[in-house]
C-alpha cells in the first residue's frame, strides 16, 4: 500500500503492478485488522494517522512546518463533541461542524502565520495555538479541565448504530480512506504542483504570476480542515474532548509521527502514528518515562533516519526496484 509522492517525475515505465499489490494488501489488512487488534486502539491509530497525513500535506508538500496543529485537532474535537452532545446533531453533521470550525481557525491562524517564513512560521503557529489553548482552558463550553465527557456516538445517517464497536471502526476506516484520498488528490493535482514550486523557490513563483500567499493560505486551510476531520472523529471514538488535544505537546507529537513515518510520503504518517501510539501505550505500563523515550526517538530520528520509515524504504534498493522514489 504505497503511492509514490513524487509528483510526476517523468518515469518511463512504472512497476504499477507491485504498487497495486501493495495498495490492495494494505487495504485488506486494514479491513481485517479488528480481528487481530483492539478496535479502539485501531481507531485511535487511524485518527492520528489521518491527523499526521493532513499535517504532512502542509509540511511535506508546501514546506511549512506548523507547530500549532493541535489547535485544529483538539479544536475540532471540542466542536464536534459540543455539537453532538449539546445540540444533539447526528455524528456526520457533528463531524462537519468540527471540520468547518477547524477550517475557520485555520484561516485565522494561517492568515497571520503565512506572513513569515521558515522557522518564524513555526514559532508563530506555536504561539497562536497556545493562545487557542488558553481560550479552551477558559471557555465555558469546553468544561475546563474536566473536558466534554460522555459524548454520544449516535447513529450514522440515522440508522447505523455507532456505539457498536465494529460499526464505529468501519466508519472511522471509511473516513480515513476518504481523507487520505483527498490528500492524494490535492498533492497530485495542478494545484499541488504549484505548491511544490512555491516550496522550491517562492520569489520565482511570484514572478511567474502566482499569488503565493493565497496558495499557502489555501493549503493551510485544507490541512486544518482535514486535521479537523481527524479530531472530530476522535472525539466520537473516545466520547470525550479534553485539553490534551489542544496542547502544544500534541502539536509536537504529530510532528514526531510524520517525521518517523517519512515527511513528504503519503502513507508514512500512518506508520509513524502507529509507532507513536503503540509506544505510548506500551510505555504506559513500563518503567521507562514516556517523555524521555519520546525525546530520544525524536533526536535519533532527526540524526539518523531523516527520511522516516517509509522514506527509507522508498530509498532502499528494494524500494527503488519496486518503483518508489522519494526526493525530499
Amino acid at each position: 500500500m504505497t503511492l509514490t509522492l513524487d509528483i510526476d517525475k517523468p518515469r518511463e515505465k512504472k512497476p504499477v503492478v507491485a504498487q497495486t499489490i501493495f495498495l490492495a494488501a494494505g487495504l485488506a489488512l486494514l479491513v481485517l485488522a479488528p480481528l487481530f487488534f483492539y478496535p479502539v486502539f485501531l481507531m485511535k491509530l487511524l485518527c492520528f494517522a489521518l491527523f499526521a497525513c493532513a499535517f504532512n500535506l502542509l509540511l511535506g508538500y508546501t514546506g511549512l512546518l506548523s507547530f500549532g496543529h493541535a489547535a485544529f485537532f483538539g479544536g475540532a474535537a471540542y466542536f464536534t463533541a459540543h455539537a453532538v452532545k449539546e445540540w444533539g446533531l447526528p455524528p456526520e453533521l457533528g463531524i462537519l461542524v468540527g471540520v468547518a470550525g477547524a477550517a475557520f481557525l485555520g484561516a485565522i491562524i494561517g492568515f497571520l502565520a503565512i506572513r513569515r517564513q521558515g522557522i518564524y512560521f513555526a514559532m508563530i503557529t506555536l504561539a497562536l495555538a497556545q493562545m487557542f489553548y488558553f481560550f479552551c482552558l477558559q471557555a465555558e463550553f469546553t468544561k475546563g479541565e474536566d473536558g466534554i465527557q460522555s459524548v454520544p456516538r449516535g447513529h450514522l445517517f440515522g440508522f447505523i448504530d455507532l456505539s457498536q464497536s465494529a460499526n464505529m471502526y468501519y466508519f472511522v476506516l471509511g473516513v480515513f480512506i476518504i481523507g487520505v484520498a483527498i490528500i492524494w488528490r490535492i498533492i497530485h493535482s495542478p494545484f499541488g504542483m504549484i505548491l511544490k514550486s512555491i516550496r522550491e523557490n517562492e520569489t520565482r513563483a511570484v514572478s511567474l504570476g502566482y499569488s503565493v500567499r493565497n496558495y499557502k493560505l489555501a493549503a493551510f486551510v485544507m490541512s486544518a480542515a482535514l486535521t479537523g476531520l481527524a479530531g472530530g472523529v476522535k472525539a466520537l471514538v473516545f466520547q470525550f474532548a479534553t485539553l490534551t488535544d489542544v496542547s502544544w505537546q500534541m502539536s509536537g507529537e504529530v510532528i514526531l509521527m510524520t517525521l518517523l513515518g517519512g515527511i513528504g510520503t503519503l502513507i508514512g504518517p500512518l506508520f509513524g502514528a502507529g509507532l507513536v501510539v503503540t509506544l505510548q501505550n506500551y510505555l504506559a505500563t513500563s518503567e521507562f518515562p514516556v517523555t524521555i523515550i519520546t525525546g530520544l526517538v525524536f533526536m535519533v530520528c532527526v540524526l539518523l533516519f531523516r527520511r522516516g520509515i517509509v522514506g527509507e524504504f522508498y530509498n532502499s534498493r528494494l524500494g527503488r526496484k519496486l518503483g518508489f522514489e522519494h526526493r525530499h
Binding site: K9, P190, I194, S197, L208, A218
Partner: protein, 260 residues
Amino acid sequence: MTAVLPEQNGAPRVVLSARGLRRDFGGFTAVNNVNLDVHDARVHALIGPNGAGKTTVFNLLTKFLQPTDGTITLLGEDITRMAPDKVARMGLVRSFQISAVFPHMSVLENVRVALQRPNGLATQFWKPMSALDGLTAKADHLIRSVGLDKERNAVAADLSYGRKRVLEIATTLALDPKVLLLDEPMAGMGHEDVGMVAEIIREVARERAVLMVEHNLSVVSTLCHHVTVLQRGEILAEGDYAEVSADPRVRTAYMGTEEA
C-alpha cells in the same frame, strides 16, 4: 552596427512606461527621476556601470520593490500600487540576475509550472495530474527551442550555471509575456549559448516588448534598438547604440576605452 527597426505601420506602441521613478534605501537614492518608455516589438537595453540601479529599476517595474516616488503604467493601466504576482499576470515577466529555477524539479517540470497559469490549470486541486499532460507538448517545444532537450529530465539543481540561465529564459517565455524584462540574460553563458539566446530574444521581440540589462556590448549593439544608460540612478544618455556609444560621458562612465 545597430539593429534596424522592424517595419511598422505607424509608430510602435508604448506598452510599459515609468515617470519620475525614484527609490530610496534609507538615505541612499538608488534610482532617481527615471523616465522610461518600453515599446512593443523592440528590444530596449538598460546599461550602466555596476550599482547604477538597473536591477533596482527592474524590481520597481515588476513591483518586487515599491517605488518611493513616480508612476508606472503597463498597457495603459496604472500599476504603481499593484502586487508583483498581479503584474506578472498582466503580462510583465522578468528573469533574475542571480538565476532562479525550481531546483528539485526537472527541466520539464520547471517549464510546465510556468505554463500552468496561462493555461488555467493552477488552482484545480481536484483534478488529476494527467490534466497537465496537455502542456507537455508545449513545454517540450520550448525546451527544444532553447536547446535543453538533452537535459529535459535532469533535475534543475544539477545543471551548470549557464544552463540554468537558459532554463530560466525558457520558463519566462512559457508565460507568453507581453513585456519581457531580462536581467543580464547572457551572464555566465558560453559563446554558443549567447548566440542562441540572442536569436531567441530577437525572435521574441518581433511581437513583444523586451527590456534587458546586459553588459555584453556586442550583444547590445547587435540586438537592441534602443539603449538607455543609467548612472548613479539617473539617466545619463539615451538613443540607439551608435548615438549612445559615441557619447563621451558614456564612454568614461561605462564603456572605457575598449571597443565593443
